[in-house]
């Protein structure tokens, strides 16, 4: 038996070289080999033969490792929504902490007027929804890089992107309406002043609407969809690079990145195919 242990240890080392960092998988394959040896020895086979047969039946470690790589993804790719909403939640916590630190809420309270509060809260939430859409876009692009994602994943991406586009466009619309109503109350006849904050908000509002529009089923032509997506990304880009929206009140740079990612993803996300691809499943067949 010590001889068998030496053989198993040598085999495990060869396996570990292919499965770096996957100790659980190596343990599991080793358990399989030991199960085989145990079963065959009970049937009268010699330990050496049972070991040789078990190793041969398990197959080439490199081929198994390649198959694992094809089907397995890191945890952040398995639970992308946890990562996305976790990041957005952290961002919200930082903004809230900074605002408390600066006494911002106190000043907002002083500036008063329900419209101003609604304006701040809805616009901020709209920005966060768009940033989350950008993260979903990054996930969509990354998960589709060099492979066709499983139908389940595509479905989750479409669903989340649609929800976030609805959320950001509704929130940005409400925010803009509340902001303009507030401005009209404070500065009669001046609801719009071409200030950087207003231009920035307006570009994000248009981009949000376009993000929603390209996902609606009324747009059937993929060229129209891609054109609208490009327009959505370009609008915020113009606001950013022309300097028209340069103000601390609008995180225009981040919003532009989010817009580019989300619009690129919706342009890439095709309609669900009728047949799930066979490639997405692991292939067990012997060579």
């Amino acid at each position: 038996m010590p001889e068998l242990e030496t053989k198993i240890t040598a085999w495990r080392k060869r396996l570990s070289a292919e499965f770096s960092g996957q100790t659980e998988t190596v343990r599991e394959l080793e358990a399989h080999l030991r199960d085989h040896i145990e079963a065959q020895c009970r049937r009268g086979m010699t330990v050496d033969d049972a070991f040789a047969q078990g190793v041969a039946q398990i197959g080439q470690p490199r081929a198994i490792a390649r198959e694992f790589k094809r089907v397995e993804r890191p945890w952040f790719a398995v639970r992308p929504l946890v990562v996305i909403y976790g990041l957005v939640g952290m961002l919200l916590a930082v903004i809230f902490a900074l605002a408390m630190w600066e006494g911002y809420f106190f000043r907002v309270g002083l500036l008063g007027g329900g419209y101003f509060r609604v304006y701040i809260l809805t616009t901020l939430s709209g920005y966060l929804a768009l940033i989350a859409a950008g993260l979903v876009g990054a996930w969509t692009i990354a998960s589709g890089w060099g492979r066709r994602p499983p139908e389940r994943e595509l479905h989750a991406q479409r669903r989340e992107m649609f929800r976030l586009a609805v959320a950001s466009s509704v929130l940005m619309t409400l925010g803009t309406a509340a902001g303009r109503t507030y401005a009209l109350n404070v500065f009669p006849y001046r609801a719009w002043s071409w200030a950087p904050a207003e231009l920035g908000e307006f570009s994000v509002l248009l981009a949000s609407w376009l993000l929603l529009l390209v996902q609606l089923r009324v747009i059937v032509d993929s060229r129209v969809r891609e054109g609208l997506a490009l327009l959505g990304a370009a609008i915020v880009g113009v606001a950013l690079f022309s300097g028209m929206a340069s103000t601390a009140a609008v995180p225009i740079g981040w919003l532009w990145i989010a817009t580019v990612l989300s619009q690129a993803a919706v342009a890439l996300l095709r309609r669900p195919s009728e047949c799930p691809s066979a490639e997405e499943k692991p292939n067990i067949a012997t060579e």
Partner: protein, 113 residues
């Protein structure tokens, strides 16, 4: 008779899920059960079962836990989750439909021949 590679690949997931529907099991036992059920017609490369099991786990169709064999060795046991049961039911209906269609087509051919 050696089954075509595509056919083996397509039947893997429903077969693994069907075996797990009978109760919790582990890699080696699943492979033995497949050999037994197919009278040795379905040949798998044993190691290739594990990417399938991990893929099913990742997709929420099965769950896994480390347990012990009768002799006290560690083994990873798999069991079906609700989503796996649903997937199996859907696929069972599809496979039966294919089976029935082929059966009828061949019967008609034989009758006509």
């Amino acid at each position: 008779m050696k089954l075509a590679k595509d056919l083996v690949a397509a039947s893997t997931v429903p077969l693994v899920l069907a075996i797990l529907a009978d109760g919790e099991s582990y890699g080696y036992a699943i492979i033995q059960r497949v050999r037994e059920l197919s009278d040795g017609e379905i040949e798998w490369t044993d190691g290739m079962l594990y990417p399938v099991l991990h893929w099913l786990e990742e997709n929420g169709q099965v769950k896994a836990r480390w347990g012990e064999s009768d002799t006290g060795r560690k083994r990873r046991y798999y069991s079906l989750k609700a989503e796996g049961k649903k997937y199996l039911a859907d696929h069972k209906a599809q496979w039966l439909a294919v089976h029935e269609t082929l059966r009828r087509a061949w019967r008609i051919k034989h009758a006509g021949a």
